[in-house]
Assembly symmetry: none
Homo-oligomer: 416 residues x 2
C-alpha cells in the first residue's frame, strides 16, 4: 500500500558551480537515487556561497518539495555557509556539538593529521537539528525539519555525499515516503531520427499520460524512457511492460537494446552467442570503431584484428584492396569499402568484418563526394552488404555516426 507521493528538490551550493569551473554531477546522481526509491525530483537549484542566497534557495525549495537535499558549503573555510544559511532559515542558532568535536578529533588522530582550528566550525549545527554521520570525511551532515519539509545537508565532495546518501538518507526516505511505486524502462533505438520516431509512436508521448514516454537523442541513438506510476509495484511494472511491448511493436528492428546498452555491447553479445569473430578496417573513422568495440570488457573474446588504413597505400598493402579499384571508383566508394571488409575478414581469419571509408571533413569534400559521405560494408562470412550514408554534420559527429551505422548494419545482419 502506498502513501502520498513525496517530491524532492536539490540545492547545490558553491561558487565553483556558478563559475562553470565544476560541472554539478551531484544533482543528477541524487536525482537518480531518489527516483530509484520512487521520489521524483521536481527541481534543482544551484546557488552561490552567500548566506542570504542559501536562505532564499531553502525557502524556494520548501515551497516546491517535501524533501530537500542540499549539497556543498559544509567545509571548514570561510566560504562554507550552508550551516549558517540553514540555521537562519530554521530561525535557530548554531550550537557547538561536543560529541561531534570529539569524533572529529579522533578522525584526525586516526589519520595522523593535525586538526586545525578552522575545522572546529564543522562541529556546529543548527540547534534542534540531527546529525547525518559522515564516516568518510570531516564534515558531518545535517538533518532538519520545518513545516513538514525535511532538509538534508550533505558535503559537496561526491565520494562523501554518495556514501552518506546510501547509508543514511535513502533508508530514512524509504521509510518516510512510502512512495508511489515507479517502474522505469528504457528502449534504445538506432536507424531513424527523433522526430520520425516521435511520429511513429504518436500519442504515446502525449503529456500527462501514465506511462509517460520521454525521448532523447544522442549521436544517433534515440532513447525512449518509459515511466509508469501506480500504487503497487506489480501494477507499475505491468503498465511499463505493456507500454514497452506497444513501442516495440511499432518500432520493430529500430529498437536495438534496453537500459544503458550501446550498439557495440549488443553486437558483442550477438557475436559471443554465435561464437563468431569480428575484424574491422577503418579509414575515416580512424580507430573509433575499434575503440567502441574494445570499450566493452571481454571484447578480446570476439575481436582480434583492426586496421586503420588512413592512406590508399595502407589500404592496398595491408588489406589487399586492388589499386585499380581505388583509381576507378575513388577511395570513398562502396566497392572500396567492400574490398576493405573482405580484406580484413580474410587477413584476420575472422567470420565477419566491417570496412568504412568516407570524408569526415572539414576538408576533402568535392561536389560529387561532399564532406559527410561515408561508405560502409559488412562482410558476413563471404556475403557482403554495403550502404552509403550522407551525414551532414561536423567531423566528430560524422565519424561517430559512421561507426554506429556500421555496428547497426552488423547487428541487423546477425539477427536476434
Amino acid at each position: 500500500m502506498v502513501g502520498q507521493v513525496k517530491h524532492a528538490c536539490i540545492v547545490s551550493v558553491g561558487n565553483e558551480l556558478l563559475s562553470g569551473h565544476t560541472v554539478d554531477t551531484n544533482a543528477a546522481y541524487i536525482a537518480r537515487q531518489l527516483r530509484s526509491i520512487g521520489v521524483p525530483t521536481v527541481s534543482s537549484h544551484m546557488v552561490a556561497d552567500l548566506q542570504s542566497t542559501i536562505v532564499q534557495a531553502l525557502r524556494l525549495a520548501a515551497e516546491e518539495a517535501d524533501i530537500v537535499i542540499v549539497t556543498g558549503g559544509l567545509g571548514p573555510t570561510d566560504d562554507d555557509l550552508t550551516r549558517e544559511g540553514l540555521a537562519e532559515f530554521l530561525g535557530v542558532e548554531l550550537e557547538l556539538r561536543e560529541d561531534l568535536l570529539v569524533r572529529m578529533k579522533e578522525w584526525f588522530q586516526r589519520r595522523g593529521v593535525p586538526m586545525v582550528r578552522k575545522n572546529v566550525v564543522q562541529a556546529r549545527i543548527p540547534r534542534g537539528a540531527q546529525v547525518v554521520p559522515n564516516e568518510w570525511g570531516t564534515a558531518p551532515g545535517i538533518l532538519a525539519e520545518k513545516d513538514g519539509t525535511v532538509f538534508f545537508a550533505l558535503p559537496g565532495v561526491p565520494r562523501e555525499m554518495e556514501r552518506m546518501l546510501a547509508a543514511s538518507v535513502l533508508p530514512r526516505l524509504r521509510a518516510m515516503a512510502r512512495c508511489q511505486a515507479l517502474a522505469v524502462r528504457k528502449l534504445k533505438c538506432f536507424g531513424a531520427g527523433e522526430s520520425t520516431i516521435a511520429e511513429m509512436i504518436g500519442e504515446a508521448m502525449a503529456r500527462n499520460r501514465n506511462p509517460l514516454v520521454n525521448c532523447t537523442a544522442h549521436t544517433g541513438v534515440i532513447t525512449l524512457e518509459i515511466v509508469a506510476t501506480s500504487p503497487t509495484v506489480a501494477d507499475a511494472e505491468r503498465l511499463a511492460q505493456a507500454q514497452e511491448a506497444a513501442l516495440r511493436e511499432v518500432l520493430g528492428p529500430l529498437v536495438y537494446g534496453v537500459g544503458e546498452e550501446t550498439l557495440a555491447e549488443v553486437v558483442g553479445r550477438q557475436l559471443q552467442r554465435l561464437g563468431k569473430t569480428l575484424a574491422v578496417a577503418e579509414s575515416c573513422t580512424g580507430g573509433l570503431l575499434a575503440k567502441l568495440i574494445t570499450d566493452i570488457p571481454g571484447a578480446s573474446g570476439y575481436f582480434t584484428h583492426g586496421w586503420v588504413t588512413y592512406s590508399n597505400q595502407a589500404k592496398i598493402e595491408e588489406l589487399g584492396v586492388p589499386g585499380e579499384l581505388i583509381e576507378r571508383h575513388g577511395a570513398v566508394s562502396e566497392p572500396v569499402a567492400e574490398a576493405m571488409a573482405q580484406g580484413a575478414r580474410l587477413r584476420a581469419g575472422a567470420d565477419y568484418a566491417i570496412g568504412i571509408t568516407g570524408i569526415a571533413g572539414p576538408d576533402g569534400g568535392t561536389e560529387e563526394k561532399p564532406v559527410g559521405l561515408v561508405c560502409i560494408a559488412v562482410d558476413f562470412e563471404g556475403r557482403i552488404q554495403a550502404v552509403r550514408g550522407q551525414f551532414p554534420w561536423e567531423r566528430h559527429l560524422v565519424r561517430m555516426r559512421a561507426a554506429q551505422t556500421a555496428l547497426d548494419l552488423l547487428r541487423r545482419g546477425l539477427g536476434r
Copy 2:
C-alpha cells in the same frame, strides 16, 4: 570604461535532467562563457518539461538576474514546452513565422532528409520576440525582453547551444554589458598530478588574487586557467601574460599547450612541421590512440597506418612481433611494446611509431601484472624509448591515460 555589472541566471529545461539520466553540462559551459565576458552567473535552475514549471522558473529568474539563458525544450516533440512557457510568461501568443518555416524546409532539403509535420511547431515563436539563428539544427532560438530583463532560449543540444551562444548571444551581451575587461588564458599540462602542480605553483592559486589561477584535472590533463581583470583590456592582457610567463617558468616541459589544445593536436603540429609520419600499434587501447590522432582534421598528412592487434596472433602476423618474445616476457611487457612499435614503423614505412600493450581490465590482471599495467614504446626513427605505467583506475581511464602517456612521450621526444 566600465558600466553597470549585469547578472545572469541559467534555466535548464528537461525531464532527462531531473531524472538524473543526463548530467547538465550546459549550465557550467554557459557560466564559463558568460564569465569570460565579465557577466557573473548568480543562480542556475533545472526544471521539468511542464509549461507551468517553466513559467515559474522564468519568473524566479527575472527576479534574480538581468540576463536569463534558457536551454532545452525547443525540440519538435510534445514534451518540448519552452516556446509555450516563454509565451505565457511574456503574456503573448505563439505565432507561426513563415520565414522560419521556409528556412527549416531548406535545411531539410539540403540534407536530403524529409521534414515531418512535427517539425512545424519549431517555427512558432512568441509574438514580438526575435529569432536567434540556428545554423546547426532545426530549432531556432528565441530572444525576448520583459521589464528590463532579456531572455535567450536556446536548444539543449550542446553542439547547437554552444555555437549559437558564440555567434549571437555573447556578442550581444558584450555590447549590452560594457563589462569589466577580462583576460583569460589556459595552460594545458601533462605528466604530473593536480596536487603536485598546485605545490609547484604555490601562492599563484591563492584566493582573491588578480590574476586568479584555477586548476582542473581531466584524464591526466591539468588545465590552469588564468583570469585577469582590469578596467582596460590592455592591462588585463598584460597581467594575464605575466602570470602565464611565471607559470611556464616553473612548470617547464609539463606545459604542452594552451587553450583547448589536446596532446594529439600538439603532436600533429610537431609532425607536420618536421614533415615526418607516424604509425601506431595498439593492444589494450584498442583503437583509441588512432582515434585521438585522427580526431584532428588533416591527420592524414602525417598519419597513415594503425593496427589494433588485440590477439597475440595479430601481433605476430601483422607486426612481426617474435612469438618467443611474447612467450618469454608476456604480451604485456616492454620488449613486446618495443617490438610492436618497431614493427609498425617498418611495415608502415613511417618515421615514428608507437606501440601500446597493457591490461585495461576489469579482468585479466595477475599478482605480477595487475589491471592498469601498461607498457608503451616509441620508435623514433630506429631509436626506441619505452616506459611502463601503472594506472589504478577503471577500464576507460586506464585506456585514456595509456594513450595520452604515449602521445606525451612522443611529444617530449620531438621537442618544441
